[in-house]
């Protein structure tokens, strides 16, 4: 698929003690919605913070909208970023956030912000004469407020760190609609990069996916291509060692086994009593992440 990059990264590297984020090459396609998926501690937030210009203590080079740098004039104005914590300070209230956003961003529309807060049904106790601080808000309302400040601006790129995690199913569904509309109305010039653990919920909004593990990118590509790349392998009984070697991951159960394999290897399974299915994004991600995961079933 032909596309240009909205973000291009080269040799992005950041070390914290034993952890190392190491991304030799990164391409976020323009005009699409990209999901960043990985285990807790995989480095998703660090990478998003680097790409959003929140932290600058990394090595490597990041370019936006072609060959522009984050500090070039107008670049930050075109990027909408929401973080998971410390985005707003806990003692701020909604009124201050409205004023502050207006001061910080030339493209912030106060009336639009009010309208978005109303349509997202954000707890109005943080606004008005006796406004409470945002520390009193639930995680879901806080995320909605963050999203409102970003959607009230004219941006060309959204970088959202786990926007769906604290939201209820209804709001998550609405967020999907908002993100789809954002991309559709951009005529190929608007892009989204978000991290998520709710792969199934966000699959409809995902065009391109990056799977991260332990600071490294395991897989990246358009969802359609990725789905063609892998197959689900199902069979009765126990999977043989020969079969396991050919698969990326295998899970055994009472009624047989299920695993993931590369679609290009399906011919090597000929003669075995197995069936193939097209995987959804969730299964692909789980299979990829299981390869190196330290998670195991605890004894209950």
């Amino acid at each position: 698929m032909n596309y240009t990059d909205v973000i291009t990264g080269k040799n992005i590297n950041k070390k914290f003690g034993k952890f190392e984020l190491d991304v030799p090459e990164l391409h976020i396609p323009e005009g699409f919605s990209t999901a960043l998926v990985g285990e807790n501690g995989a480095g998703k937030t660090t990478l998003l913070n680097i790409l959003g210009g929140i932290r600058r203590d990394n090595k490597g080079e990041v370019c936006y909208f072609g060959d522009k740098k984050i500090d070039d004039e107008g670049v930050m104005e075109r990027i909408g970023f929401t973080g998971t914590k410390n985005y707003f300070l806990p003692h701020w209230n909604g009124n201050q956030i409205r004023e502050l956003s207006d001061m910080l961003f030339d493209n912030f529309d106060k009336e639009k912000f009010d309208a978005i807060c109303k349509s997202l049904n954000i707890d109005d106790s943080v606004f008005g004469a006796k406004a409470k601080s945002v520390s009193k808000l639930s995680d879901g309302n806080l995320m909605k407020l963050m999203l409102a400040t970003v959607f009230a601006r004219k941006t060309d790129l959204l970088i959202l760190d786990e926007p769906a995690s604290p939201l209820d199913p209804l709001m998550r569904d609405l967020l999907g609609d908002i993100l789809r509309t954002y991309i559709a109305e951009g005529n190929g010039k608007r892009s989204i990069l978000f991290s998520t653990h709710n792969i199934s919920d966000m699959e409809d909004v995902t065009d391109y996916i990056i799977v991260m593990d332990d600071g490294k990118i395991l897989e990246q590509g358009f969802v359609t291509d990725i789905k063609e790349k892998y197959v689900i392998v199902k069979g009765d009984g126990e999977a043989s060692d020969e079969l396991k070697k050919k698969m990326i991951s295998v899970t055994s159960g009472k009624y047989g086994f299920e695993g993931m394999a590369l679609a290009e290897n399906t011919e090597s399974f000929t003669g075995m009593n197995i069936s193939f299915e097209t995987p959804d994004l969730f299964k692909i991600c789980v299979a990829l992440l299981k390869q190196n995961s330290k998670l195991s079933m605890p004894v209950l």
Binding site: T46, G52, I54, F81, L89, P90, W92, L104, F105
Partner: protein, 234 residues
Amino acid sequence: MFKTIRQYKSYTSKNVMAAAYILFPAAIFVLLVTMAFFGRNTEVQTFRTILTTFSIMVSVWASVVVCLSDRFNFGAFLSDKSRIGEIARTSSKGIKMIKSITLWDIFSRLLLIVISSAGIAVAGYIGHPDKGLKFAMMCILFILTCHLITSLLVWICRMIENQTISTLIYSFGILYFFPVALIFILPEEIIPSFIYTGAVIGQIILDVIVNSAGMLLLNRFIKREWYNDGKDRK
């Protein structure tokens, strides 16, 4: 400067800021000069009481404004643990605003202390040309000391990231004003004029050094927080 005042407005009401930074010192200046003019023939001790009262008012004002501006303006961008709100980092204006607010805060405080001190000096000279100026110097010295100590402690509070210590410092800040008794105990004659002048100049220099050092530390802190942090955080 006006842009920065507009930024202040967002966190503290316009009236409070106007009263804190303009009306109060202006009123002190006018009142002092007027009272000194009409009270030219009052006895020295009465005049000393008037000047001392005004000195305390100016000192309390300066110290309270330091703490207020810390909570309402500096604190508007930095949390209790001095972390910069991420939203400010996502804007090209964010860090510039933090620096300009702090700079304007220091500049306005020092400027208005100078205005108030000038009022006290003028009042002292008008009231008692022979002894008044020397006594006014003592009062100004007291104001500058209070401001210097408060600034120093507030900058420490901003950097140490310990809310309990900050609260203690803010709560007991009023204790700095007790040395005011010295103004009454020490007769101004025992110290030569040039020492007073030297002490006032020295205090102003110290005040500027403390606040400039604070600004430099803030700058370093911003760089550390934004460009070099994360040794132990993801």
